[in-house]
């Protein structure tokens, strides 16, 4: 027996009804009476002293009402704000700017054109200061100081390490072969198609309503309360429809704070929406990791130890969005799918004259950096010892019977069957045939490559004992109300940004409550109505909020059983929950549905049972979930141009129990495309003077439908043993797994020329240069 819209069905998405009609409600769609617009004058310099700011001309622009500077904010102690990582960052500068594109003065006007005109008319005098944009140079003693006000008088922010250093060194010294490789994982930007923005509005009683593009509305409310001193009940954060988040909408940006100040100052609602150029110049970046790794292996292909040293470029402030205890995120998942006996990882955070950040990019905290490194390294090892990369992986994988598996760097993997996923992917592409074809092509001097990536993800933060953001434990919540007519409203502390929560949560509840999904409405994002939660990022919604939904629904079932027993005039123990109904054991025709019970809960509750049918659960997961997958990419390289053609890309994912197969597949397609992007197209660089190269979609190449191949997907199912329905997260797996598969394929194609690594993004010119240097063009 099935229930309409239950777990496992490819239910059409509920939220689509408004989006396909153009009736979504994104932040820039919000119009309030008397609303003003905020825009910013930004710094042309990467590092400079501000000697004067003159607002007179700007204030003469028709429609301009106010100019707000760092000095104005300083009077209210708001010129600086805390980051999520216990650092500080400027809202607006008082005397120095630290990166090109930094907000310097806010201009408030009647409409967006006047605000932009006003921003162009603010006159600012600067004295340029020495700039450092390279974190390695920033660590040298003679480097200019990015944050001279800090007591440390150094650009070094923090050092973090985990693992057994001496043990790893000893193991590597004993290994038959040690492969060393440096990787640079460039700075990129999530570039959700909707940029960031807000509307700040005070009511006559001084209560703030903040419509904003945030993935974590409740945590943001608490941060605003702590920073502004406003009582927390006087702040309502509403996260309306979000046009893509991917981590970029977790941090607090200066625009949000200045909009609140502007609304207070003018007595009008104030809207701020950044342009794409603003977004690329100043919103949180991702990655920017300089990695240096050594991996050991025996002659016969057994991986031994792994040692990794990393320099993390954080820009001028450590404004990463990581759990508090993990300044390098979950980078120590870097031992991946392999049972290394010993491993050691160290990371040093560094300041440079670049925008702050260090967020994820559709991936769990720093997991792509880790998965990319280990999957590239394993391929290099295979080439070095002359073993097929699939064989090397199959020989080394943590075996299914070893779970729960304790990794050398301290994680406890919940479940996995890595060989199963890789074998399915190999079967889907016909791996032996591809290798035969490649051998033929090599004889003819053609360049065809096959790349594998067998990654392990870590998502669903997290157990409260280990994971918090600014002290807020990373639990997640669900509140269910069943109305008398058997219809359901459920609210969550997470926030949909396109993942399909309104549909998948309803499916979980349909199965757990025995009520069809169309009778279940899901709401998130309004802190006045939703239960407190930590929000949606790092693929945590299904592992945490999905579990909260199950537990809350089961609380309802416990109470409902008592009411059903009363209606059927039996004792609760005589009933069983079967076929989505309460049935008298052995007498299936004597039964009550959840709708029957709901009506009775308000009209005829059992004696001693309080009226109503509601429950709330704050779920603290016992562990992270560890989704995994194996991807195989096949490329052909054009000798004349260096162009890389992805002929096939097969992605086998395992995210445990699948709630909506259509949505899961869609998430994987999208994740793969955001894995392709940094592998082949996207990168933001800076010149020596700190000028950004990549500040618009002219220079920052987000893949279009033409660059993106036709993704093929497959699935294995290894449920999580600790999640109430066995589900794991999935939104980001493909972003984590794809880059290594693509680069491994390209390197494999060029390996007859002695190529062992090419730094991402692998542009055709880089390939052409190699072909040219080796006399192949």
């Amino acid at each position: 027996m099935t229930i309409h819209g239950g777990i496992g069905q490819s239910l059409q998405r509920k939220e689509d009804a408004r989006f396909i009609r153009g009736k979504g409600n994104y932040v820039d769609d919000i119009q309030l009476a008397g609303m003003l617009y905020l825009d910013f004058t930004r710094s042309p310099y990467a590092h400079a002293k501000i000697t004067a700011i003159r607002s007179e001309k700007a204030l003469k622009v028709p429609g301009v009402l106010a100019v707000i500077t760092g000095k104005d904010l300083d009077a209210a102690k708001l010129a600086w704000m805390p980051t999520l990582m216990s650092d500080t960052q400027m809202v607006l500068p008082i005397d120095t700017v630290k990166f090109q594109g930094q907000e310097v003065a806010g201009v408030v006007a009647e409409n967006r054109y006047a605000a932009a005109d006003g921003a162009a008319a603010v006159e600012i005098d600067y004295e340029p200061l020495p700039v450092v944009t390279d974190p390695v140079k920033a660590l040298q003693p003679d480097s200019p100081l990015v944050r001279p006000e800090k007591p440390k008088k150094s650009n070094h922010i923090w050092h973090w390490e985990v693992g057994d250093k001496a043990g790893t060194d000893a193991l590597l010294a004993k290994s038959d072969v040690v492969v060393h490789q440096d990787f640079y994982i460039p700075r990129i930007n999530v570039s959700s198609i909707e940029t960031c923005g807000c509307v700040a509005s005070f009511d006559p009683m001084g209560r703030l309503t903040m419509y904003m593009t945030t993935q974590a509305p409740h945590a943001i409310r608490t941060v605003f309360a702590l920073v502004s001193g406003l009582p927390e009940q006087s702040i309502r954060v509403i996260s309306p429809d979000i046009g893509g988040g991917f981590g970029g909408k977790v941090p607090v940006y200066p625009g949000y704070v200045v909009a609140i100040v502007a609304a207070l100052k003018t007595g009008h609602p104030v809207k701020w929406v950044e342009t794409r150029t603003n977004n690329l110049m100043s919103s949180s970046f991702a990655r920017d990791y300089h990695i240096s790794a050594d991996i050991g292996v025996t002659k016969d292909g057994k991986l031994t130890g792994l040692k990794v040293k990393t320099i993390a470029d954080h820009g001028y402030a450590d404004a990463a969005a990581n759990p508090s205890k993990f300044p390098a995120g979950l980078f120590h998942i870097i031992t991946g799918s392999y049972p290394f006996e010993k491993a050691f990882v160290e990371v040093d955070g560094v300041y440079t004259n670049k925008p702050p950040g260090g967020i994820a990019y559709r991936c769990s905290f720093r997991v792509t950096e880790a998965a990319y490194s280990i999957e590239r390294l394993v391929d290099e090892v295979a080439h070095k010892i002359g073993m097929d990369p699939a064989e090397l992986r199959l020989k080394n994988f943590i075996p299914p019977e070893a779970f729960p598996y304790h990794s050398a760097l301290g994680w406890t993997y919940d479940s996995g069957n890595y060989g199963g996923a890789l074998k399915l992917a190999m079967q889907m592409v016909d791996y032996p045939a591809l290798r035969r074809e490649q051998a033929e092509k090599r004889k003819k001097g053609e360049f065809m490559g096959i790349g594998i990536s067998s990654f392990t993800e870590i998502v669903g933060a997290g157990p409260a004992h280990t994971f918090d953001i600014l002290g807020l434990k990373m639990f997640e919540s669900c509140e269910i109300r069943i109305h008398p007519t058997g219809k359901v409203m459920a609210r969550f502390g997470t926030k949909n940004q396109g993942q399909g929560h309104e549909t998948t949560y309803a499916q979980i509840l349909a199965t757990e409550l025995g009520i069809p999904a169309e009778n279940i409405s899901i709401e998130e994002g309004d802190t006045d109505t939703a239960p407190y939660g930590l929000g949606t990022y790092a693929s945590r919604s299904t592992p945490t909020a999905g579990a909260a939904a199950v537990v809350a629904a089961r609380k309802i079932r416990d109470k409902a059983q008592k009411i059903a027993a009363h209606l059927l005039e039996v004792s609760p123990e005589d009933l069983e929950w079967k076929d989505y109904k309460f049935q008298v054991k052995g007498v299936p025709e004597k039964s009550k549905t959840m709708a029957d019970v709901a009506f009775a809960a308000y009209t005829n509750p059992a004696p001693g049972v309080e009226a109503g049918l509601e429950a709330v659960d704050y779920y603290d997961p016992p562990n992270m979930t560890y989704p995994f997958g194996s991807y195989i990419c096949v490329v052909d390289i054009d000798k004349g141009t260096g162009a890389i053609h992805i002929r096939r890309f097969v992605a086998v994912d395992d995210c445990g129990t699948v709630i909506n197969p259509m949505i899961v597949e869609g998430q994987i397609h999208g994740g793969l495309t955001m894995g392709l992007a940094p592998a082949m197209y996207e990168q933001i660089t800076y010149d020596e003077g700190g000028n950004i190269r990549g500040s618009s979609f002219l220079d920052y190449l987000v893949p279009t439908s033409v660059e993106t191949p036709h993704w093929e997907t497959g699935r294995t199912v290894t449920p999580s043993p600790h999640h109430p329905i066995g589900a794991k997260g999935v939104g980001e797996s493909a972003t984590v797994g794809a880059p290594a598969a693509i680069v491994n394929a390209i390197v494999d194609a060029l390996s007859p020329l002695g190529v062992t690594n090419i730094d991402i993004p692998v542009y055709p010119w880089k390939v052409w240069q190699i072909l040219h240097d080796k006399g192949q063009t």
């Binding site: 998405r13 979504g24 046009g243 893509g244 991917f246 994987i668 397609h669 036709h710």
Partner: protein
């Protein structure tokens, strides 16, 4: 910080610069408007008329979130002045459904899961409508070329291609 009293505004786009009168047919309804010369069509639709289905995703004419049909041709409305719409027909996402019936392209997008966050979707659908009007039987290759001026960050395009193929089939074409 002290609150400064500022008179309430009547319109989100108070007209201050030089203006023109335009006559424009939007989703089959004719209108006459006064518009400021420099107002972009996308801001005119969104801020002045409250038709917020047409979105904005960039400032360099790359993303296509703002795509509308101008005399049945897809244009990026962030790169067209409202005055340029004078005497012409504009169709937006709000004009796709007719008589309570979804357009086949809308049906295709929801059936094939061609959208996640929905932000690129209106522009993507308008481009698709124009493609199918010109080419009722597009191949995957032709679809990918046609939508290459519309960026989607969420879906990876595979299901958008399927959505357009679905619409083609429903309209009697399809390959």
């Amino acid at each position: 910080m002290a609150s400064t009293a500022i008179p309430r505004l009547t319109s989100p786009l108070p007209i201050r610069g030089a203006t023109h009168k335009i006559h424009v047919t939007i989703n089959d309804v004719p209108f006459d408007f006064m518009v400021e010369d420099r107002t972009l069509l996308v801001h005119f639709l969104r801020d002045a008329l409250g038709m917020t289905g047409t979105h904005i995703g960039c400032d360099t004419t790359h993303c296509g979130a703002c795509t509308v049909l101008l005399d049945d041709v897809p244009v990026k409305s962030c790169t067209v002045l409202a005055v340029q719409a004078d005497g012409r027909k504009v169709r937006t996402v709000e004009g796709l459904e007719s008589g309570g019936k979804l357009h086949p392209v809308q049906e295709g997008f929801t059936t094939e899961h061609g959208l996640h966050c929905g932000y690129c979707t209106p522009g993507m659908m308008m481009t698709s409508v124009a493609l199918l009007a010109k080419n009722p039987n597009p191949t995957e290759e032709e679809i990918r070329r046609a939508i290459s001026g519309n960026l989607c960050r969420c879906t990876g395009y595979v299901n958008i291609v399927k959505a357009i193929q679905h619409a083609a089939k429903a309209s009697g074409g399809g390959k």
